[in-house]
């Protein structure tokens, strides 16, 4: 039985039309009954190609905008911290998110974006297009991710004043079509070997993302002082922070049935600790000892 809260549209049930009966040049999405197409569109790319039985679908062939190399390096590092070599989520991690999305500012769509008022987007502005966030992915935390240019001396410390404002385009209101929320805060950080600074903007973006706003228009103004402001001298004047435009990192909890829910597996293990037997060697049922070889030859440690 489907769990109550899983939206009918996000499941691929047996309604798939057999692909062979449909001419292949049609976009695979057209092969699906209308009701399922919406669900199909919600599926992450991996499950889309799996449900197409690996046939070359437009998804895996679609031209991809290459991600920023710095962003890619950051996400690979996050992957290594979260998963084992075989790709299994590390058990000792207790985070609640099962999805992390990284968006880089949308440069090409600066001009082509039809919702923007003329002259609304200034050079320091950032526009993030969050269309890829599905309705079942709920925001837990959002972070602006800054990386430093390599020319910045590695052992320096900074004190920065940051003015962050988000412009909302409320077309329903004629009086003030563009509402702006601004927050200013200062931060002090050291730049050692690590070249990333993460600024938590969750409370700032939560209202926007919760109301399904998929185009976030943000202006971020950084004024940074190298060294300690108390003993700063004239020479330590404001430096031109070689900040690369930030990426936006969203930590999400995907409640769809395909996503892994860490807390469920913990609850299941507590509910029926005695699991079905594993038949990988004859001795399993007779001796039932702890450290037995599994098919890959690795000594499998079985946790009670």
């Amino acid at each position: 039985p489907r769990s109550r809260d899983s939206a009918a549209s996000d499941r691929i049930s047996g309604l798939l039309v057999a692909p062979e009966e449909i001419p292949s040049e049609l976009n695979p999405l057209l092969r699906l009954p209308k009701g399922v197409r919406r669900g199909y569109a919600l599926l992450p790319p991996l499950l889309k190609v799996l449900s197409d039985q690996g046939r070359q679908s437009w998804e895996s062939e679609a031209p991809r905008l290459q991600p920023d190399s710095r962003a890619l390096r950051y996400m690979k590092r996050l992957y290594k911290m979260s998963a084992t070599k075989e790709g299994i989520p590390k058990a000792n991690k207790s985070h609640l998110y099962n999805t992390v999305r990284l968006f880089t500012p949308c440069s090409e769509c600066k001009h082509s974006h039809r919702d923007l008022m003329k002259g609304d987007l200034h050079s320091g502005d950032l526009l993030f297009n969050l269309d890829r966030v599905t309705a079942l992915e709920h925001l837990l935390k959002s972070v602006l991710l800054y990386s430093f240019d390599t020319s910045v001396p590695t052992s320096s410390s900074f004190t920065c004043m940051c003015h962050l404002s988000v412009k909302e385009h409320d077309f329903s209101s004629q009086v003030c079509p563009s509402v702006s929320h601004t927050v200013a805060f200062s931060l002090h950080f050291e730049v050692r070997k690590r070249k990333w600074v993460e600024i938590d903007v969750t409370s700032f973006l939560q209202p926007l993302i919760a109301t399904n706003r998929r185009n976030i228009h943000m202006a971020v103004n950084f004024t940074c002082l190298m060294g300690d402001p108390q003993h700063s001298t004239e020479q330590d004047s404001y430096i031109n922070m070689a900040l690369v435009p930030p990426s936006l990192l969203l930590y999400l909890n995907d409640t769809s049935e395909q996503a892994y829910h860490r807390w469920n597996s913990l609850r299941r293990r507590r509910k029926n600790p005695v699991r079905p037997r594993q038949r990988n060697s004859l001795l399993a049922d007779i001796t039932d000892d702890e450290g037995r070889e599994n098919p890959q030859g690795k000594r499998a440690s079985r946790r009670r």
Binding site: A83, Y260, R277, Q278, R279
Partner: protein, 131 residues
Amino acid sequence: RDENLNEAPATPPYNLSEYFKQFLFPQNECELHSFRLSFSQLKWDKWIIAPHRYSPQYCKGDCPRVVGHRYGSPVHTMVQNLIYEKLDSSVPKPSCVPAEYSPLSVLTIEPDGSIVYKEYEDMIATKCTCR
């Protein structure tokens, strides 16, 4: 059988241990088998950044008549086996299928160039059962 123990038996006594071997050491028994694929084989490595390789594993083998506790099978499996053997052979024999899975973390590039890390449920078979 009523036999005179002194006489040399006409036929060798039935070797019970051999008989029981078929239950203890059944051939081609329902078991977990290893299978390792790499996403480049499917030409998906352009957008799947990690992991490069993935071992979904699979279950294969015969489901003996007496499944019971050995395979964590429900009673229904034995009933279905009985139906197949005694009543209607069009009803399929129980199959060797996965009973438990592990999740998999995947890092992919989306069509718009954004990057997503997602943990997917039920991607690696870890235990088999007869159902």
